[in-house]
Assembly symmetry: C2
Amino acid sequence: MARPREFDPDKALKDIQKAFWMNGYHGTSMHDLEDATGLRKQSLYREFGNKDSMYDRAMELYMTRDVAELAGVLQGPGDARTRFRHFLDVVLDAPRRGDRSGCFLCNSAIDRAHEDAATAESARAGIDGTLALFEQVLSASPPYDTDIESRRAEARVLVSGYLGLRVMIRASTPTATLDAIADTLVSTI
Amino acid sequence: MARPREFDPDKALKDIQKAFWMNGYHGTSMHDLEDATGLRKQSLYREFGNKDSMYDRAMELYMTRDVAELAGVLQGPGDARTRFRHFLDVVLDAPRRGDRSGCFLCNSAIDRAHEDAATAESARAGIDGTLALFEQVLSASPPYDTDIESRRAEARVLVSGYLGLRVMIRASTPTATLDAIADTLVSTI
DNA sequence: CCTATAGTGGACCACACGGTCCACTACACG
DNA sequence: CGTGTAGTGGACCGTGTGGTCCACTATAGG
């Protein structure tokens, strides 16, 4: 048999995702990915194909890991307001730690969607899924459990506010302002 | 004396802005700018300096023309809700016409802010200014004219929702969904 | 030992990038 | 006519890009 792989492909993908997340598709070169992973490009190409597919994998990881983690937070205990409070706390934890990479989906929608139809579709679907998720969480608490129209309306406010918050994280908005917006969003529930 | 300039520098700048607006800093090459303006790069360099300063000028035009135009809409007749209704109508007119370029400020925050401190500062300042503007418009109508805290809270909801809406425009969200979100945002006033 | 795979280093490719320079042709005015 | 500027076309530059290929050294199992 053959020599076994020495690096961890999952770890490498995480590093790739981190680089794309912070600097976008255009802002990240293959050299950057080598530095981020500690691997040479031959290993990267063999493992992941070309740069485009590395970006696709990074996006996929965002959907299956990061979005799923956030969704998990929203499925936690308590009423809708408590869950969203916790959810936004987790989201705002990143900028509090100095991590201003924002939302991979939003970033890709702005950075790459206009030139890649598949990315545009992923972004659209991701945002659509977020709206549906918010609606589902709201349906756990009155009056949203019975009043479908108010549930939809509140989900719309929350999803647009959430995305705006993600942009503001990227735009160096002070954490105090971010906290205030999160508080206000939660208070509308 | 000398031969007079044949092209219109303002028109050229508008074309440059349009290209950057749609494709971002990294996604727009000098060749793209030549195509967009119909000018050769020698003329562009002589008129505007280098690519960075062209981007800066495009951003400046966004602040002095496009943001000012939107601000003008918000200063129109009627109460706060009527003005915001009109404001979001104007904003959503672009995607209805097929223009998905979104918000220059949001785009630059995500595309360029992480590698250019001046851009980051512009984005932050622009968003801050939007928040202040929204507060000012709200202060024209009760109960926001007297209740400062509710005015601030509502301005926060509107600004985050507005920015989120701009991202969704970019992310190919159907116009029907955009309209629904705009309606809901206005109804919170 | 043999073979198949993992991984490295470096050469190499065509191309696009931002940017400069130069020669040349307009075209205004004094 | 002379001069100064506008504008074009094309050559050119150094650098970086994504991507390929090859030679070489490990290292596993049969």
